[in-house]
């Protein structure tokens, strides 16, 4: 039986290899396919399922927070612990965010199917971070994956 591991911070779920910059995507489905493909390489996941689960969550309401940031997330069967990827599209993309503005910073979060309140708390940590104006300003100024990674895990 899979044991679900609870992870509470971005430092626990993100590795530098999963900071994906200048991704050539213009639509959500494209984004989900590419991220699913990338994360499935080292997490032994079915990329089609991952992409579909992200799209299903998105259908409940956009995961765009406004002000250019979004946190798409999904519960994934077979996943034992939360994992994440950060994407900066080549050009800010439409995300149906409440402010109608395109997004330039996207944190994708995958959690086990049995995701519960602890995982919601992990999402809250991420949302809190992305809702911070100073954090967003620093994030926009980051020029490479290493500096973005350091910024994301130090909070």
């Amino acid at each position: 039986m899979n044991q679900t591991l609870i992870r509470h911070s971005l430092a626990d779920v993100l590795i530098e290899d999963d900071i994906l910059l200048d991704m050539a995507v213009t639509r959500k489905n494209q984004l989900f396919d590419k991220v699913a493909s990338h994360l499935s390489e080292h997490a032994a996941l079915n990329p089609v399922l991952v992409s579909r689960r992200l799209a299903e969550r998105e259908a409940l309401g956009s995961t765009g927070l406004g002000q250019g940031v979004a946190i798409p997330h999904a519960r994934i069967p077979g996943l034992t612990h939360a994992i994440a990827a950060f994407v900066r599209p080549k050009v800010a993309m439409a995300f149906d965010a409440p402010d109608g503005k395109p997004v330039y910073a996207i944190l994708v979060l995958l959690v086990p199917e049995t995701a519960n309140e602890q995982h919601l708390q992990l999402l809250a940590v991420a949302a809190q971070l992305f809702c911070d104006k100073d954090f967003r300003a620093t994030l926009r100024a980051c020029e490479d994956a290493a500096s973005i990674y350091r910024l994301l895990i130090q909070r």
Binding site: G61, G66, V91, P98, L120
Partner: protein, 288 residues
């Protein structure tokens, strides 16, 4: 003194605006200039330049201005001045009143002038030919007399009938977040804003309260978002529309995506939720 921007940086800044321009291209945006802002002509040239720029990059604009409510600056003069300033910046502005093309009629109830009828046909026609309609809020009532109505109410109703993407209220007031002590990251739903207004004493700026009421009504009748901005800030319109952060308070409809509520439902089926402070709260579940 203005800081000189290197040409390469200037080009970068313009290139960064591309996705925001794409998002607004061909969309209708109604802009209301409040009475307090109208009384400060020093801000008008900058606002007119920003309006011309937005029009030239493909935003369909309609401008509604309030009456300055001062004897030495009559409504028609305000209208002519704004039209002239927009035209000087390269926009094709056309001054209108509610009388033109029988766009609007006024009714008097308990001594107050209100909008009895409003047709978007004329402003839509002008928009379609790349003009910027600049509308003064007056028209004729059944008694044959000409009356002025609230510019914010007219702008809100016009935004609804034109199925505008955005309604922008430019005023001369502090940010709504500060006035109400909100921690909303600049975005709030109509229901949340209404709750804040009910639980606070009316702010000193009654004009702001009127703008908020029109803003809430607009997003409840088809306008995607309403933005309340301090028009005294240089390039307020460009900062709000063409940058990720914006500078004002954005009111969205109650049907807009709500990240915290939607995610709470997704993860816990409603047994817990995330509050605005991002803290987890157990919801009381009553079972029969």
């Amino acid at each position: 003194m203005k800081v000189a921007i290197a040409p390469a940086l200037q080009a970068d800044i313009l290139a960064d605006a591309l996705p925001y321009l794409q998002a607004l291209y061909g969309k209708t945006v109604v802009v209301n200039l409040s009475a307090s802002l109208i009384r400060e002509p020093s801000h008008h040239a900058g606002i007119a330049r920003d309006l011309a720029l937005l029009k030239l990059v493909g935003v369909n604009l309609v401008v509604v201005h309030d009456d300055a409510q001062v004897a030495d600056y009559p409504l028609a003069s305000v209208n002519q001045s704004l039209v002239g300033l927009i035209n000087c910046s390269g926009g094709n502005a056309v001054g209108l009143s509610g009388q033109d093309g029988q766009m609007m009629s006024v009714s008097i109830i308990d001594g107050n002038a209100g909008i009895a009828h409003l047709s978007p046909t004329l402003p839509a026609l002008l928009q379609a030919h790349d003009y910027i309609p600049v509308l003064m809020p007056l028209s004729t009532a059944e008694d044959g007399e000409v009356h002025t109505v609230s510019g914010s109410i007219l702008a809100g109703q016009l935004a609804q009938s034109l199925k505008a993407e955005k309604l922008i209220m430019l005023g001369e007031h502090a940010a709504v977040d500060e006035v109400y002590g909100l921690h909303v990251n600049g975005i709030i739903s109509a229901a949340e804003m209404e709750k804040e207004m009910a639980s606070h004493r009316p702010p000193a700026e009654l004009e702001l309260r009127a703008s908020l009421a029109a803003a809430i009504d607009a997003v409840r009748h088809g306008v995607a978002t309403t933005h309340l901005l301090d028009g005294r800030i240089a390039n307020a319109l460009l900062l709000e529309l063409l940058t990720s952060e914006g500078i004002g308070t954005l009111i969205c409809s109650d049907q807009s995506p709500h990240f915290l509520a939607d995610s709470s439902r997704y993860f816990t089926g409603g047994t817990a939720s995330l509050g605005g402070d991002m803290k987890l709260r157990k919801n009381l579940v009553v079972r029969f």
